[in-house]
Amino acid sequence: MQPALELKRVRKTFGTTVAVEGMDLVVPRGALYGVIGPNGAGKTTCIRMIMSILFPDAGELSVLGQRSALEAKDRIGYLPEERGVYRKMKVGAFLIYMAQLKGLAADDAAARVPQLLQEIGLPGVESKRCEDLSKGMLQRVQFLGAIIHQPDLLILDEPFSGQDPVSVRILREHILKEHRRGATVLLSTHVMANAEEMCQHVVMIHQGRKVLDEAMAGLRRQFDLRTIHFEPLDAGADASSLSRVSGVERVESMDGTYRIVLMPGTDPAGVMARLAAAIAPARIELSRLRLEDVFVRIVAEAAGNEVASQALRASVTVGPEGALA
């Protein structure tokens, strides 16, 4: 079966700035892909090229088996990063209009609107003007505009930006629901925590180039399971015995808790049992994979610049909108 999305050596420049370079990407049907990277990495440019809003200078792309998104418009749902509404239009009319543009009959669209609004936590707003809704509510309305025609491919550019934690949770549920329905989902975010929680597969972009293209499961195997967080039951316990446990590479102390890095190839389960035997733990857990660690490791630490790596980490951790729900 043809992939939902395929990019081959795609390149895009704006004047002298190279926005995207040598981009190869295959998104299989029914997948949930996350495109991550700091602001300005080229995520939006990639998405706009996929949507045929911009056109690549070089390279090829196919969308839902078509040579361009223009030929499959009605089967694609798109939530752009720059998203707006007609402020004076009523919410219901706006959604029906969007659905009609996507090929739905007016009656079908009108029938879907109240139920969709209900499901997304905005019951009865269809007769309100868009300008009377809060920003978070409007974003949910815009999301509905992207899915009302039940697209085969859903492309969401920074769907969580500017959202409060409640909205983020609601949106995440609905994105997963669309995915369960069978839609292929591609979402971009600069807040990597969002991606690691819901994506099956992540693509990292940095300075216009793809630096990582991996399934989350593979990433977990590859990059993690090597760090254990350990908190002793007795705060005064002598921690030096921890570093003598076999399989431990080094122990870092962080105000009362310890970050224990394992030697490559060690089975974490055995180490955890041995650590617990050495000192009674209040808490012992295998650290969660953090994409930002992966990102910083790939990009910045390769360059060996400590200041730059910290700045990068800051740019992809928790965004100003605090979207880590």
Binding site: L70, Y78, G84, V85, M89, Q100, G103
Partner: protein, 460 residues
């Protein structure tokens, strides 16, 4: 293709409804006819209703001794009213019958006549001191409400020419500041009438005979065209080019302005990218232009309808060749297309209305040009200037519409050529504008200048 047309239709429908279902639009739509109605109905009533009669004194120095009696008679209120009635009737002589009938009804006539002034004639001795009498004019006497309105000084040979001459003397009229213009006219008319009467009786002539000899009724010309004749109506023929040019400009302004503001708004509130995921830029532009065209057509249809109704109610409908309405619509469509393309391109290129101003200035100047040459073309509709303008876009449609409305319409081949030139220009401008529209929609940041726009068009 079918999908594309469907989407264009949807965009056009939304544009139309967004423009029409709007308080501002309804108010604007009604405001224009309301202002016109106010000008034609309310204003004259305000002018003539309950004007207090002018009361005052007119001093006469009459060395001939034969005029002041007649003058006194000519300035009584009844005589003034009779003269006003005569002149109003004369003015209406060439008007279409329905207008004449409507105007000569008693209330309308009464309004035209107004309240005649109440004048007191003061005869001064022939040897009165002119300086003293002029001084008298400047003394306004308010106590009894009588103003000093005029001083009429007749020359001694005003009634009988001096020996050896065939020329009669005349008179001088002195008035104070701030005198009513209409009163001044009354005085001229009254002096003329009494002088003529005095001269006729001095020559022992029969006044009725002399008047009969002098009177030649001015004919109302009849315009002869193939198969039909119609009364020439000078005023109508003069007004028509202006009305046509006005309707064209007005129609374009309505649609064009909304097109510009809507596009800028869509761009600035970022709804544009959402739309672009569903429609192509060209579909969007086409839909917007068509939607606003429908708005303009609605307004034009309304105003043309009001105009036709007015003509019909005055039985003047025969003056208007119906083909002119067809031409008006065709020329409107051609020039609308051209200007709408420009408006939408400008809207797409800028980030906010303020930035649109500098790009719009030349467009507005071109739109205003028809007003400047409407008179020139209307007067000489087949001059080289008028013919040349008929083939130079984008003013060609306006020039041709003015010529079509004039008394001597242009040959048909010129009309057709104007249409062809207009269509070609519209197509070229739309092609260029579409490129700017496409690139401009997603461009944010510095306001573009003309050079940037041309670069965009090249890149697209």
């Amino acid at each position: 293709m079918k999908q594309s047309i469907r989407r264009i239709g949807l965009v056009a429908g939304r544009e139309f409804l967004a423009a029409v279902m709007n308080k501002g639009f309804v108010v604007g739509l009604l405001l224009m006819p309301a202002i016109i109605a106010a000008l034609f109905v309310v204003f004259p009533r305000l002018l003539n209703r309950n004007v207090p009669a002018i009361r005052g004194e007119v001093a006469v120095i009459d060395p001939t001794g034969q005029v002041s009696g007649g003058l006194r008679a000519a300035l009584v209120p009844e005589a003034i009213a009779a003269r006003r009635r005569d002149s109003a009737t004369r003015a209406l002589q060439n008007a279409p019958e329905a207008v004449r009938n409507a105007a000569t009804t008693t209330p309308a006539m009464e309004r035209a006549i107004g309240t005649p002034p109440q004048l007191t004639i003061l005869e001064r001795p022939a040897n009165a001191d002119l300086q003293r009498e002029k001084q008298w004019l400047t003394e306004s006497v308010a106590t009894d409400g009588q103003r000093h309105l005029a001083l009429i000084v007749l020359q001694p040979d005003a009634v009988v020419a001096a020996a050896g001459s065939t020329k009669y003397g005349s008179y001088e009229l002195f008035i104070p500041e701030n005198i009513d213009v209409r009163l001044e006219t009354e005085l001229y008319d009254a002096v003329r009438e009494s002088l003529v009467a005095a001269r006729i009786s001095a020559h022992s002539l029969n006044r009725a005979e002399v008047e009969a000899v002098m009177n030649v009724r001015r004919a109302a010309s009849v315009t002869v065209a193939v198969g039909k004749e119609r009364r020439t109506n000078v005023a109508f023929n003069q007004a028509l080019p202006f009305v046509f040019a006005g309707l064209l400009v007005f129609g374009i302004m309505i649609g064009g302005q909304t097109l510009l503001t809507q596009t800028v708004e869509e761009k600035s509130n970022r709804v544009i990218e959402v739309l672009l995921s569903a429609v192509s830029p060209l579909e969007l532009m086409a839909g917007k232009i068509l939607g606003q065209m429908a708005v303009s057509m609605l307004v034009l249809a309304l105003y043309i309808g009001i105009g036709l109704f007015a003509l019909m109610s005055f039985a003047m409908i025969g003056l208007l060749d119906p083909i002119l309405i067809v031409y008006l619509v065709l020329f409107f469509l051609i020039s609308y297309l051209l200007f709408a393309a420009v408006f939408s391109a400008v809207g797409a290129a800028v980030n906010e209305m303020r930035e649109a101003q500098s790009l719009m200035t030349p467009v507005m100047l071109v739109l205003m040009a028809p007003w400047m040459f409407a008179t020139v073309i209307g007067r000489e509709p087949n001059s080289t200037f008028a013919v040349a303008l008929s083939f130079i876009p984008p003013v060609n449609t306006f020039a041709m519409m003015i010529r079509l409305g004039s008394a001597t319409p242009p040959p048909t081949w010129q009309v057709l050529l104007t249409m062809v030139v207009g269509l070609l220009a519209a197509a070229a401008v739309t092609w260029f504008a579409a490129k700017i529209f496409k690139v401009g929609l997603l461009m944010h940041g510095k306001a573009p200048n003309m050079a940037t726009l041309i670069r965009w068009a090249r890149a697209a």
